[in-house]
Amino acid sequence: MIKFLLEKDTWQEVFDSLSKNKLRSILTMVGVWWGILLLISLLGSSRGIENNFNRMFENYATNSLFLSGGNTSMPFKGYQEGRKIKLNLDDAKKIKENVEGVEYVLPSHQLQITLSRKSLSASFIGKGEFPFNDVLAKKDLLWGRYINQTDIDEHKKVIVISEDVYKQLFEKDENPIGKIVYGENLGFTVIGVYKVVNFGGPQIDVDIPFTTSQQIFGRGNTIDWMTITGYENFDINQIDADVKLLLKNIHSIHPDDNRGLFGFNLGDRFDQITGFLTGMQFLTWFVGIATLIAGVFAIGGILLISVKERTKEIGVRRALGATPFLIKRQIIIESIAISLIAGFLGIISGGLILMLVNKTLGIGEDAFMRNPSVSIAIVFFALLIVITLGTLIGLIPAFKATSVKPIDALREE
């Protein structure tokens, strides 16, 4: 069989019969070509989108959660409902000490601040942060640096602003580092500009040192947000539950009251997006393979017609000594050859489309996909499917071809 596949004659026969009717051969290939093209370009694109999400998430500890106080919705231990829960630095300390699996607890203030510079001013939501925030949620800095420990220790009036703030308060291409912006009647020195990536909650445009905001806004011990990260081998959802239980206990919130504390965890978001990507890939495979099957069926149908047209030729071949096995083998090989050629064309054109997509959509900071590509394994798998289906579908015309007796085949006009 191997020897047979390597012989020139085998392929000469296939080539002859395919080139005999070029239009028919080409039309036959369209189905499978299209199927492979869809499969390759869709899988590649979804990989590109996945790459982009991965890039966005790589700056974040995905096993982290954000927590703030809310308003109670149930009376408990003599307190009325509607009570505002205020978290404080002691809570953070207790969480770190008592909840199993917690790696870091990072407190922060949320603040409303109106910034002005020259004649321009605008209102933003900002945060009082520790330098460690840059570790948990890495800032994509366009200019300068993030808050450091000296800023904290010396309660420095420095400010890190988002790209949006920069655009509103500064001239185009103006270097903002070291410039002063005014807020709360104080001058803040700009030390950095970052790009905003938001996974939920209000967009944060301004970061100032935690100690500075503590002082300026007279916050004392209270905080608004806690970012809690878990050790890698701990389930963030379990930590989430444990932390909430502890805080409900400390702040006398009813155990069933879900509004006393407000928070979301990144693990959940990450799972949602991963789930979405998995769904997209599944859909791609489904559509691609369904199209492939349709394409291969088209090949079967056209080969069936071709066999019918060639009844007499097949009769002659059999009169000259072709055994039914040889005839069947030839037709199956034809089917596989058509499928394979179409498959290769599909892979090549799919690859070209991915290159084009990459050039047009995959370039720049805002690109929603990056390096759209398919692995060699997927390409081989697709070809394997094509070969298998091509063989199976080839069996139908092959058996049809030898079902006619040679004497009847020869009589056919």
Partner: protein, 233 residues
Amino acid sequence: MLEIRELHKSYPIGGSSLHVLKGINLSVKDGEMVAIMGSSGSGKSTLLNIIGMLDEADSGEYILDDLPIKDLTEKKAAVYRNKFLGFIFQSFNLINYKTALENVALPLYYQGVNRKERQQQAMFHLGKVGLTDWAKHLPKELSGGQNQRVAIARALAANPKLLLADEPTGALDTKTSYEIMEFIQQLNDEGKTILMVTHEEDIANMCKRIVRLRDGVIMEDKKVTQVRAEHYV
């Protein structure tokens, strides 16, 4: 060479059946050239098809070169046809997308002869029918007579024991018919056994023996003095 005894064949037609061959007895020796004649429906083509192993008899014996031909599977029939028989058809039955050379080489392909050998042998046989210069041409580029000569070369390619011709001149004009007959006579002169179905008296007279069929039985079986085709060409 060929021995046929009490051969019967009928075809089902609707509810009833048509008895086409009603006990044929025929014996052909090596080197004979036999014309089988008869009007349409006489069973001459059916007889040729059975001899050619394209069809099977209902009963009776058929022995080819001491080999009983009976209960053949499709595969076995194909192998026997390839080894023992050469076919010449009325409508040539060349494969239209293959060149003359490739057509002639086809029986050798099914014999498993390698490509180079095949081409050489095919070229030799094309030469015998005088078409060396036309080897690379497709059937549609050749005249009817040339096509039949390609078909003869193809029938010879596998070096068969028996050559079967079904109205070999049926699609050709008189002059070309005689040219073809000249070739066939030459082959017979070289020792090939030939069996030919025809309904033309002049063609039949170019054979050495005429077997006349009517309604499925042999009416007459006589040796004739061969008329040489070259006298007419």
